[in-house]
Point group: C2
Chain length 197, copies 2
């Protein structure tokens, strides 16, 4: 069984997609061993609790320095000895020492077709705002390995999603989640769990 | 009838797609009034001749300066009083005075999902080489209005195309042409001809 640690920051809809995919055997040979949130009281933690998944909130605000948070965060990951770390809407920059230690073992979901609308400054709703501002007719999502750069790691899966006339950033975000993110993130985990990558 | 001038540089497969779309009434209310090639002896010119479409080859090589070519090229366009100029694989930079004169009347087909793999340096096979090098799983094509920048004009249509494992740049180019370019370029012309943009 692939030991998966899922890192979240908010509502945890991608976490839910992973949980459901394990339940429905869309993902096989993998289990979530821990959910880590950098924000306390977010719904993602309740989703984990509802499935009796070990869940930890660890906020940078509770540490005197970024270094101290990074150390504690890494320790929190290390404790469960994960084979795969999934950044599922995790709005924290992964410390370089962690990227080094878990090389090709950290994956991220990005809400655009990389290399469009990626890199520093493109996260969350901002990605969709930028896509609408450029007037693209097709966007999508990307699952990629995390390396030292921002959204520069090897791409695992991508899925295109149509932009519709009059879309607001929130409407587009929702469609990209439903049609792409919630599908390709579980798919990618399953591929890794079954040695297909 | 929308008077369309098509500019080409080579084989003219996108030109053929436009010709076929007019024949099959996928495009209505439009006619090709002239085909201009910057290269002599290319197959695109034969495609035009086969349909009795006025075709002109005008090469920068036959002019002493770029300015002289630009003037002659603009004159060659002006002569047929086009409502729309279609750059269908046209590897010549459109002179600023022409862009100004034909504002929102020049469209281009680009073999990627803009803003991925666009701008200076990305043309022809190089676009697909770059896409494969980045390892994207989805690419596509874009029809956009031409403005002063390179691939920066308003997007009209885009269509996504899957990248398959082991694709060569040429294989990917062929798939993007078949599945996207030859569809969205005629579609865009038809939309313009029928006042849908």
């Amino acid at each position: 069984m692939l030991r998966v640690c899922v890192c979240v920051s908010g509502g945890g809809t991608n976490l839910q997609a992973i949980i459901d995919a394990i339940d429905n055997k869309v993902i096989t040979n993998a289990e979530i061993v821990r959910v880590i949130s950098n924000n306390k009281g977010v719904y993602a933690l309740e989703r984990a609790a509802a499935k009796n998944i070990d869940a930890v909130a660890i906020s940078p605000k509770d540490f005197e320095s970024r270094e101290q948070f990074n150390e504690a965060f890494l320790k929190c990951v290390d404790e469960v000895e994960p084979d795969l770390i999934v950044l599922a809407g995790f709005l924290v920059v992964i410390p370089p020492m962690m990227i080094k230690k878990y090389e090709r073992k950290i994956i991220n979901i990005h809400p655009s077709l990389i290399p469009s609308f990626c890199g520093t400054g493109y996260y969350g709703l901002k990605v969709h705002e930028a896509a609408l501002e450029r007037g693209v007719k097709v966007t999508g999502a990307t699952v990629h390995f995390v390396d030292e750069g921002t959204d520069t790691g090897p791409i695992i899966l991508q899925k295109a999603v149509e932009v519709l006339p009059g879309d607001t950033p929130k409407e587009l975000q929702q469609r990209v989640m439903e049609q792409a993110e919630w599908k390709i993130l579980p798919q990618a985990i399953n591929m890794i769990a079954n040695g297909q990558i």
